[in-house]
C-alpha cells in the first residue's frame, strides 16, 4: 500500500466520522428543538428543510445538468395535491367541496401520511417522465419557456378540474403531519441521494452534458436519458417536498403554485451558486431566514427614538434590493460551483489559526 493511498484511506475514515458526528449533532438539535423551542421556530425549521429538498433537487437539473428548466412549481403542485387528496379525511372533503362534490373513489380514500407522500413522489416522477419526452426536444430559453408553460397549464387544470382539486378554492383542513422528523429526515435523505448521484458516473455524465452536449454524445453518453434521469429524480424529491409543504401550511390552492414560486427557487439556487449542492443548501436556509427576519420591517418599530408604523411591502423592497446587489457583486452566487468538504474546512480553519499565530508574532 503506497503512503498516499494510506492517507487517502485515513482521511476518508476521518470524513465519515466527522459527517456522522455532524449528523448526530443535528439530530440532538432537532430533538431539542422539537421538545423545547416554540412553534414559531419549529415552523421556520420545517420550511428550511422543505426548501433545501426542493433547492437541492432543482439544482440537479438546472445546475448540475445545465438544463434551464422552470418546472418546480408544477412538480411541487402535483406532489402537494396528490398527497393532500390521498391523506385528507372524507368528512373534510365533503365540507370543502362546495362547488361540486368530489368524484367517487377519491372522496372515500384516506391513506396514511407516509404512504400518500410516497405515492405523491412517485406520481410526480411519472408525470416528469411523460413530460421529458416532448420537453427535451428543445434547449436553452425555449426549454425554460416550455417548462414554464407546463406549469401554467397545470395551474389552469388544477383550477378547472373541480371534482378532483376543488378548483381555485383549494383544499383546506389538512392535518399538520409535517414534523421536524419528517421534514429533516427526508431532507437528509435527499441531500445524501443527490450527492451520491452527482458523484457517480451518472453525475459525471450530467456534468458532461452541461459543458458540451455534442461532445458528451460523441463520448457515448446518451444526452436525452441523462437529462431525463436528472429530471425524474428531481421530480420525485420535489413531489415529496410538495406533500410536506401542503401538510405544513395545512391549506393549498392552485394560486400558491404560480410561477412566482419557481422564481423564488431559481433565486435560491442562483444565489447559492448554480451547480453547487452546498450552495443550494446554504442559500435555501439564508433566504428562508431572511424572508422571516425582514418581517420586522413590516411591524411597528422604534429606531433612534422615532416610532415607525410598519409598512406592508417593505420586506420585499429590501429583499429585492439585496437580491440585485448580490447579483451585481457576486454574479456566480455565494459558492460558485464549489462544494463543501471536510478537508477544505480543516484547511481553512488551519489557515485561520496560522494567520492568527503569525499575527501574534
Amino acid at each position: 500500500m503506497s503512503p498516499s493511498h494510506a492517507t487517502e484511506t485515513t482521511s476518508h475514515t476521518r470524513d465519515r466520522f466527522l459527517s456522522l458526528t455532524a449528523l448526530a449533532v443535528l439530530g440532538v438539535f432537532l430533538w431539542f428543538a422539537h421538545n423545547y423551542l416554540s412553534g414559531y421556530v419549529i415552523r421556520i425549521l420545517n420550511t428550511i428543510a422543505i426548501y433545501i429538498i426542493v433547492a437541492v433537487s432543482y439544482n440537479l437539473i438546472n445546475g448540475v445538468t445545465g438544463q434551464f428548466s422552470l418546472q418546480p412549481n408544477a412538480f411541487l403542485a402535483i406532489g402537494a395535491y396528490v398527497t393532500a387528496i390521498l391523506a385528507l379525511s372524507p368528512e373534510e372533503k365533503v365540507q370543502s367541496f362546495i362547488i361540486e362534490p368530489m368524484i367517487w373513489p377519491l372522496s372515500k380514500i384516506c391513506l396514511h401520511f407516509p404512504v400518500s407522500l410516497a405515492i405523491g413522489g412517485l406520481f410526480t416522477t411519472l408525470i416528469a417522465f411523460l413530460m421529458a419526452v416532448p420537453v427535451f426536444r428543445v434547449r436553452g430559453d425555449y426549454l425554460a419557456i416550455v417548462t414554464l408553460g407546463f406549469g401554467e397549464v397545470l395551474q389552469v387544470l388544477a383550477n378547472n378540474l373541480v371534482p378532483i382539486t376543488n378548483g381555485p378554492l383549494g383544499l383546506k383542513g389538512l392535518h399538520p403531519y409535517t414534523t421536524l422528523w419528517w421534514s429533516w429526515g427526508l431532507c437528509i435523505m435527499t441531500v445524501f441521494c443527490v450527492v451520491r448521484l452527482v458523484n457517480s458516473s451518472y453525475g459525471r455524465a450530467m456534468k458532461a452534458v452541461r459543458e458540451d452536449e455534442r461532445a458528451a454524445e460523441a463520448m457515448g453518453i446518451n444526452a436525452f436519458w441523462t437529462k431525463t434521469l436528472a429530471f425524474t429524480v428531481s421530480a420525485f424529491f420535489q413531489g415529496v417536498a410538495g406533500g410536506l409543504l401542503a401538510h405544513l401550511i395545512t391549506t393549498i390552492s392552485p394560486g400558491m403554485f404560480g410561477f412566482m414560486l419557481t422564481f423564488n427557487l431559481l433565486t435560491i439556487i442562483v444565489v447559492g451558486g448554480l451547480g453547487s449542492t452546498t450552495g443550494a443548501i446554504l442559500s435555501a436556509a439564508i433566504i428562508v431566514l431572511l424572508g422571516e427576519g425582514l418581517r420586522t420591517f413590516e411591524e411597528p418599530f422604534t429606531l433612534f427614538g422615532h416610532y415607525f408604523q410598519g409598512v406592508a411591502g417593505m420586506r420585499m423592497v429590501i429583499f429585492s434590493l439585496l437580491l440585485i446587489v448580490v447579483m451585481l457583486f457576486a454574479d456566480r452566487g455565494i459558492m460558485g460551483r464549489e462544494e463543501f468538504s471536510w478537508r477544505k474546512l480543516i484547511d481553512w480553519a488551519r489557515s485561520l489559526a496560522g494567520g492568527a499565530r503569525r499575527g501574534r508574532k
Partner: protein, 295 residues
Amino acid sequence: MDYSFILQQIVFGLTLGCLYSLVAIGYTMVYGVLRLINFAHGDLLMVSAYLAFYGIVIFHLPWPVGFGLAIALTAVLGILIDRGAYKPIRRSPRISALITAIGVSFLLENLALVVIGARPKAFPEPAVFVGVLETGTLRIPYMSFWVLGVTAVLLAAVLVVVRRTRIGMAMRALSRDMETVRLMGIDIDRVISFTFVLGSALAAAGGIMWCLRDPPLDPFLGVMPGLKAFVAAVLGGIGSVTGAALGGLLLGLSEVLIVAVKPEWSGFKDAVAFSLLITILLTRPTGIVGEELPD
C-alpha cells in the same frame, strides 16, 4: 350566436390584443438585443399609469401633457434600469441577469406598494376617451378606436425605426453578433439604451391605455399583462417585432373569443394561450415569425 355578436367580440379581442402587442414589442426588442428576458418590463405599465395619474390628478396637467410626460419619464426609467441593474452584469452568466430582472420587477411592485399603498385608485378619464359608438346591435367604445389607432401608428413607427434608420440597423446587427458590432466602432451602450427607450415608451403607452380602458390602478397592475405579453412575444417568435405584434393579437382574440363563445370554458382561457405556446414551440421552435436562436 349571431353575426354581430361575433363581430363585437372580435373588436374586443383586437383591442385587448393591441395592448398585449405594445408590451410584447418591448420584450422582444430587449431580448433580441441582449438575450435577456426583461421581467421588469410589465411593471413599467404600472409605473407609467401611476405617473400619468399623479400628473393629471395631483398636478392638474392637461391630459396630453400628463400622458406625454408619463411616457417620457417611463422611457427614462427604462434607461436607468438598464444602466443600474443590467449593464454591470452584461458579461455575467445570463441566468444572473434574469435573476436581476426578477429583482427589479419585485422592487418596482413593492416600492409602489410602500410608497403609494394597496388601495386601488381611479384613473382619470378625459372626455374624449369616454363614450360608445352604436351601430345596430354593435357597440364599439371610443377607447377601442383609440387603442387600435395608437397601436397602428406606434407599430408603424417602430417598424420604420428598426428597418429604415441607422440606429435600427445597429439594433438588428447587435442581435446577430454583439462583438463584431463593437469592433465596427458602434457605441453599443447607446444602441442598447435606445432599445430600452423605445420598448419602455411603448409599454408606457400601453399602460396608460390599459388604465383608460379599465381604470383601477394598483401596484400589481403590470403582472398579468406582463406575463401575457411575454407569452405573446414568444408565440410570435421572440426577437421579431412583427411576430410580437401578431402574437399579441392572436392571444387577445383567442382569450376573448373562447370566453364569449363558450362561457363554460372560460376557466381554460389561460391554458389555451399556453397550450398554443407549447405546441408551437415543440413543432416550430422559432415561433410564428422568427429566426433560429443560439442554445
